[in-house]
Amino acid sequence: MIIASLIILILPLLAFVIQIFFGQRLPRKGDFVSIFAVLITLGVALGMLVSILMLNDSQFMREAAFTWLNLGAFKIELGFLIDNITVVMLVVVALISTMSHIYSIKYMDKDPLYHRYFAYLGLFTFSMNGIVLANNLVSLYIFWELVGLSSYLLIGFWFQKDTAADAGKKAFLANRVGDLGFFIGIMLFFTAVGSFNYSDVFAGVASGSIHGTLLTLAGLGLFCGAIGKSAQVPLHIWLPDAMEGPTPVSALIHAATMVAAGVYMLVRLFPILTPDVLTVIAYIGGFTALFAATIAITQNDIKRVLAYSTLSQLGYMVMAIGTGAYTAGFFHLVTHAMFKASLFYGAGSVIHAMHHALHKLKDHTIDPQDMRNMGGFKTRMPFTYWTMVICTLAISGIPFFSGFLSKDAILAGTLAFANHSPQHLLIPFFGFAAALITPFYMLRLIFMTFHRGSKFPKVYRQIKESPREMTIPMVILSGLTLFLFYTLPQINPFFDTGWWFTNLIVARDTVVTGFEIITAHEIMVSMHHNHLAAMLLSVALAGLGILFSWLMYLRKKLSPQVWAKRSGFLYRLSFNKYYIDEIYERFIYKPLLKLTERVGYIDWDIYDQRFIDGFGRVTDKLARVSGELDWEGLDKMIVNGIGRQFQRAGQSLRQIQTGRLQNYLLFALLGIIIILILQVI
């Protein structure tokens, strides 16, 4: 297991290194290297999945570590932790990564930086696997940042476009905000426990070496990381903009895996989160789920609709963790990865087709991503259409699809949560409201893109189905939305136990002490009780959403324009994404800029120019005076003066040295006479 996970970790890194250094010189720009690497990764991951299925042990766990830093009494170990959650997550990452690689062959075809694109994908896959395999908070944090880096690189991949470069920066900065809290959280745990290892931290929390408010604060810190990475309100702003990146990247990073890293981290660390933290998590997640869904209704950019839908679904997962049904959240992570990646591939396929059609017509005025410019593509792109429909049904929570299973589990979790603590009735409300809106906007996307007539018949005639490299990943992933893949050996999707997934991934009890705790078992029983209600209600709501969407966008019994006008202010609010960007601009960026300007003014104009430069000026003046003194006084007068005096003395003394023998003799004689006289006296 450890060797296998090492292979999974190293291969994408190897592919990255080869691609970045030699990619351009290899045939086909070396894409086969990356694809080969991820295919092996996928094979190994599937092998691991099979082996844990054979074991069928919910407590399965392997750990390996080596000492990374040894500072006398304290050392930091890095290593792997492999349990059922890890393996399932590895399979998800490897699968979506492989699909994205294959999809990108044609999607990124002829891009001048084709090899670099694959290199970045490799780097991302490596980092993501690192997060999944980490057994301690340090390596988690390292890979966490690496993932952020590769996300930045890939969002800004088309950096010639200002919007893409800005989006990359925005994503990076928004993540930094969250990561700050994350780092504080990690350090709080470290100072209290003295180790970064999950098991040590868990043990430390269980023994009460960190407890009460401090533990809550530390948990909130960890959650900050998840808010940033999983794009929860209020740091959700980067994810819609991240759609500037290539579509396979949106599918891999900004829908299926990286944004799920926050959720995965919370799942991993669930046992040390206090009930207070969980309540905050539940509210933020729930709010995000509903909030993003309401924005998705009015967006016209096909990728942005999917982006807000991703936000909403991530909100679901986070909410599930908050309600304690964290295995349900993880389950939704897995199912969502499949159908959302496929939806993004579908959107990419449509954009690709639009792009080619517009390119052929030499039309650069039509936005290839705007759904209002599409319509009727159903007959032109049957593969894309059907896979997208299947995935839409999955995300809507229609029975027999994977989304139904996970969504119901989450909704049952929210109901169970509300049962235990009736004051939090808002949580299930968030969940069910989002469940109503999700099918509405997803079908709106389908209807606007694939049904009705096209606004531009010329474009429509040029629309072609995408090549096989693109459709095959879509077909595979939409195939994986079938409920059977998750419920086996149970074949009744309406019954919520006995699936391999629930057998393998069993909720652990929290290790937090000193709070009023609801045990994992209680949550499970309560979820089981609420399962039927959640199921019926969610299916009814999904049906309602579909009905509305059908009436509005296909049957045209209800006019969207009239409804938009009728809702007026609310419509504008949703269309402009609640003005969150504008609010941030007005209340955070602008004041911050003003503040930095003010600080800059103080620093530069006053401190630097007056104080520092003043010192400089005074020193300069002093130096001049001192230099003057030194040169004029010391050098010229004293040093040179002494020299001159000696020179003068020598000049006059040399007169004596006539070179005449007799003179010398005369002097000698005079000397003798003087001596004699002196003696006589």
Binding site: Q657, T658, G659, R660, L661, Q662, L665, L669
Partner: protein, 101 residues
């Protein structure tokens, strides 16, 4: 005539004449001759002291030594003068003043 002072006065006079010659003459040969005078004044003193000071023959021996040394000195000095002449084409000691520069 057998007073020591007379010999000493003659010797001193001879010495002063010799010294005068050495200092004032420009011709190197004349300088040499002055030196001879000085040496001989010394000889005269030796002899006088030997005669009146009761020093037996030591004074005479010394005088003989001085004469021998003077001969040797004259030989070397003349050789030097010839070389000076070869170098400067003069025997004027004032013009052989290369040490000055």
């Amino acid at each position: 005539m057998d007073h020591l002072q007379i010999y000493l006065i003659v010797g001193a006079a001879l010495f002063c004449l010799g010294l005068f010659g050495v200092i004032t003459r420009r011709n190197a040969i004349a300088v040499l001759m002055g030196i001879e005078l000085i040496l001989n004044s010394a000889n005269l003193n030796f002899i006088a002291f030997s005669r009146f000071g009761g020093m037996n023959l030591s004074g005479h021996v010394f005088a003989l030594f001085v004469i021998v040394m003077a001969a040797a000195e004259a030989a070397i000095a003349l050789a030097i003068i010839i070389n000076i002449y070869n170098l400067f084409h003069t025997v004027n000691v004032d013009e052989a003043s290369q040490l000055k520069q």
